[in-house]
């Protein structure tokens, strides 16, 4: 499987070059790769059907327990076949569709990459690998949806899809990791074995919510469905592939895959049936309302996804078989329909129902394939769609899910009507202007619809052919022992058949009474008016607005407020720590004779400080600071630190000189108060608070004993081992000379910096 994935990636990598070398043939050549992969997967069918999954493992990140492990069971195999099979035709199709497009090669790059990612996703057994491929499908689909990227709408849709599926991805990551941690296993197969434990786990609801979020976003379940119709801005092959056959089914795949692990509980049942049912209804209703061929198809896809989710939610044996059947049927007919619709677009220049009519004579092949696929969609015999629908009805009826049955009935009726719409008017209706210049498409565009429509027919007639695989799929979703399956196109007069008849009748009624129905639908929609696109825009602009507001409130470009934030933070953190942790001790005042001088010096320091604050002119401030500085120096000297004292005096003077040299070039301080009254108050609180906190900590520190062993060592060895009598200097140049090395680097850099500031100036406007 890894080989298949890598081969497709390789094909993707060479696609642009190949396209440049063989512009007319490249898509045929490239299609060989997924085709061979499909062949390989087809060869695995007997084994898998016999109940022996194919396993592969490659080491990846063993320290995290992550491996590239793959497991091919019925579910994976069905998906893999669809991906590679439909994929091959999509590649061929897109070669025709994009003929002469300057970025055709790049398109193949993306779509093949997507194919590889999708293939990885459905075959991965390792949780993290699954996630990796999941995300890769999101990214590649972003590229594909935005393929027509000069178009602003395409870009918007791409970002929308990226965000929705990306959000699902985040949930998936959290959910998978939770699941892995809760079960202690990091492969799906191993986790499935401990499903019962997981379902009883305290975090089960969290996992469920997260994973459902992932699946619902990916599979466009209500209320995350809105991105899918917008994604139709992508070129038709993308719609055909991603948005019908594969990517959107990734969510369905995930649900099916997790069914044995998380399924079978009340929340699971309700979440899935509810979301699935609503989505199915919604999709049907919207499909009826739409007039753009691709939009119609997109909404029917929603309906199908809803049905699939609903079936998983019901989860009975029959429902799962129906799930497998409907999955296959839908993929085939929807793929065919999308490609054929593209062909119509390509041939006639429009996809609007109102502009189409009488194409049968111009595009007979396209018409034929659409007809077959539409019949399958409508669920009419002898097509696969019929079989699938019968299976659904049969099981749902038998289990007595009457609400679900009603939903399905309505949805299927809508499908019938839609199917009729798709074929009858464009092909058999009165010819329109667009039909005038319409022409039949070439083999590249028709190969896909032909094969897929053909398969719909073939499988319908010969249901025994896919039966084994469908059974294996259902087994995989159920997670139990294999059950034998015996499907027939004709299975007698059953309630299901009756329901089918009802569906057909309802559907026809819908089709022929179309406009009243449409109107009533529109009315309903007006009542429950949720313009999802508008809502989406609102959500984004709300987010953007929040971001803007918070950012401009915090980062408002005013240094004073930055500093106020910072000091407030300091005060808050230190103050809270002192209050919450305690620890303040008062060392006790032990005044002795020298302290009088200490007090005077302290007063001088504070006087200088006060002077600097009070100062009206800069000179006043500088001179006040000089008092503080000299008092500090005197304090150093008094405390037996002559080196420090001298240095302080020197530095004090030098700072003064530089200050004066600089100040001579600056304007006077502006007259008037420096800040407003409230600011003054606030700043005073901050200042006094921080000063107080520092004092408190300092006092507490001073009350602790201090180990003097370092200093004693310096004192003892300074002369004997380092040959210096000035211990401070020996520390500076020897014991801790490395500090001084850094220090002179700072000094040197400052010198250089001043030079650069004054001499290295680029001209205005950014260029030297």
């Amino acid at each position: 499987m890894l080989t298949a994935i890598l081969a497709i990636i390789l094909a993707a990598a060479v696609a642009p070059t190949l396209n440049r070398l063989l512009p007319a043939l490249s898509h045929w050549v490239l299609a060989l790769v997924p085709l061979s992969a499909a062949l390989w997967f087809a060869l695995q069918v007997p084994g898998v059907v016999a109940g022996v999954p194919v396993l592969e493992t490659a080491s990846w990140a063993p320290s995290l327990g992550v491996a590239l492990s793959f497991r091919l069971d019925g579910l994976s195999l069905l998906f893999a076949l669809l991906i590679c099979g439909i994929g091959a035709f999509v590649v061929i199709y897109s070669g025709g569709y994009l003929r002469g497009h300057p970025r055709e090669g790049r398109f193949h790059l993306f779509i093949l990459s997507f194919m590889a990612a999708m293939l990885g996703l459905v075959t991965a057994d390792d949780l993290i690998s699954l996630f990796v491929f999941w995300e890769l499908t999101s990214i590649t689909s972003f590229m594909l949806i935005g393929f027509n990227h000069e178009d602003a709408r395409s870009r918007r849709s791409a970002i929308q899809a990226l965000l929705v599926t990306g959000g699902g991805g985040m949930a998936l990551l959290a959910g998978l990791v939770l699941m892995g941690m809760a079960s202690g296993h990091w492969t799906l197969s191993a986790i499935a074995a401990s499903g019962a434990d997981l379902r009883a786990h305290v975090l089960y609801p969290a996992m469920l919510v997260l994973l459902l979020l992932a699946a619902f976003t990916k599979s466009a379940q209500v209320p995350f469905h809105f991105w899918l119709p917008n994604a139709m801005d992508a070129p038709t092959p993308v719609s055909a592939y991603l948005h019908s056959a594969t990517m959107v089914k990734a969510g369905v795949y995930l649900l099916a895959r997790l069914n044995p692990t998380l399924g079978g509980t009340e929340p699971w049942f309700w979440a899935l049936t509810l979301a699935g049912g609503v989505t199915a209804l919604w999709g049907s209703a919207m499909a009826l309302r739409s007039t753009d061929l691709k939009k119609i198809l997109a909404y029917t896809t929603l309906m199908a996804l809803g049905v699939l989710v609903l079936l998983i939610g019901i989860g009975s044996d029959g429902a799962l078989v129906a799930f497998a059947g409907f999955l296959l049927a839908h993929s085939l007919y929807k793929g065919a329909l999308f490609m054929a619709a593209g062909s119509v677009d390509h041939g006639s220049g429009t996809r609007e129902l109102g502009e189409l009519g009488g194409l049968w004579s111009k595009m007979p092949a396209t018409g034929l394939f659409i007809a077959i696929a539409a019949l399958s969609m409508a669920g009419l015999p002898p097509l696969l769609g019929f079989v699938a629908k019968e299976l659904i009805y049969e099981d749902v009826f038998r289990n007595g899910h009457m609400v679900a049955l009603a939903v399905l009935l309505l949805a299927n009726a809508a499908m019938v009507a839609t199917a009729a719409t798709l074929f009858l008017k464009p092909f058999l209706g009165a010819p329109t202007k667009a039909a005038g210049h319409a022409h039949e498409s070439g083999p590249a565009l028709l190969a896909g619809p032909a094969v897929l429509a053909g398969l719909s027919l073939l499988f319908g007639l010969w249901i025994a052919l896919p039966q084994g695989l469908l059974g294996a799929t259902a087994d995989a979703v159920r997670g139990g022992a294999p059950q034998s399956l015996n499907l027939h196109l004709w299975h007698g007069l059953t309630p299901a058949l009756g329901l089918s008849g009802l569906t057909l009748a309802l559907g026809m009624a819908l089709y022929f009474g179309l406009s009243p129905v449409k109107n009533s639908l529109a009315a309903i929609q007006r009542l429950t008016r949720i313009d999802h696109d508008r809502a989406w825009d609102c959500l984004l602009s709300l987010l953007q607005g929040t971001a803007n507001r918070i950012t401009s409130a915090l980062q408002d470009g005013v240094l004073q407020r930055y500093l106020a934030w910072i000091f407030a933070g300091i005060l808050l953190l230190l103050g809270a720590t002192l209050v919450m942790r305690g620890g303040f001790t008062w060392p006790g005042i032990r005044l002795d004779g020298d302290d009088g001088l200490g007090i005077v010096l302290a007063l001088l320091m504070l006087g200088g400080t006060a002077g600097a604050i009070r100062a009206r002119s800069r000179m006043e401030a500088v001179l006040s600071l000089a008092i503080t500085g000299m008092s500090v120096a005197l304090f150093f000297l008094l405390s037996g630190a002559p080196d420090v004292g001298i240095t302080q005096l020197m530095v004090e003077t030098l700072s003064t000189i530089i200050l004066v040299l600089v100040m001579a070039k600056l304007p006077m301080l502006p007259p008037g108060p420096d800040r407003s009254r409230p600011a003054k108050l606030f700043h005073s609180v901050l200042a006094l608070g921080i000063g107080g906190v520092v004092t408190v900590i300092l006092l507490a520190v001073l009350d602790q004993p201090l180990a003097m062993d370092l200093s004693r060592f310096f004192g003892d060895t300074s002369l004997v081992e380092a040959y210096g009598r000035n211990v401070v200097n020996v520390i500076l140049v020897d014991f801790r000379g490395f500090d001084t090395l850094g220090e002179i680097t700072v000094v040197a850099c400052a010198g250089l910096g001043v030079f650069a500031l004054l001499r290295a100036r680029m001209g205005k406007g950014g260029q030297p």
Binding site: T653, L661, G724, N726, N729, V733, D734, I744, G751, V754
Partner: protein, 132 residues
């Protein structure tokens, strides 16, 4: 700053200050002082000269570009640390003494030069800035 009195005063003071700065540097290992303070005094002396006589006069007196002094000082500060390693593989900055002269003193000279170079670079550029 055309003050005759100041100029005469500085002419008398500068040699004294330079002498004092070397003195401070030299005995720093045994008494208060050292490369940093010494360098500061030296720089202050030259800066004073610049203040009284102008930057160009100071530059003539100094003869080398302060930036060269800066780089050289840093180099002089870094290199003595290697001596121990070259001789015996001892770690960086392991001191080596030959009589009263040791690598820490060389290092201190580096400090002195860096300080002089840096401050004079600053003073020179700042004062020239004013003259434009």
């Amino acid at each position: 700053m055309d003050s005759l009195i100041l100029r005469t005063g500085v002419r008398l003071l500068l040699p004294l200050m330079l002498l004092f700065s070397i003195f401070i540097l030299w005995r720093g290992h045994n008494e208060p002082g050292g490369g940093f303070v010494g360098g500061l005094i030296c720089a202050v002396g030259f800066a004073l000269h610049a203040l009284a006589f102008g930057v160009r006069a100071m530059r003539l007196l100094l003869k080398v570009d302060p930036r060269t002094v800066l780089g050289a000082g840093l180099l002089v500060g870094i290199l003595p640390g290697f001596v121990g390693g070259l001789l015996s593989g001892a770690p960086y900055m392991t001191s080596q003494w030959l009589g009263a002269v040791g690598t820490p003193l060389l290092f201190d000279i580096g400090v002195y030069l860096v300080v002089v170079g840096a401050i004079l670079t600053m003073v020179e550029t700042l004062m020239e800035e004013g003259e434009d």
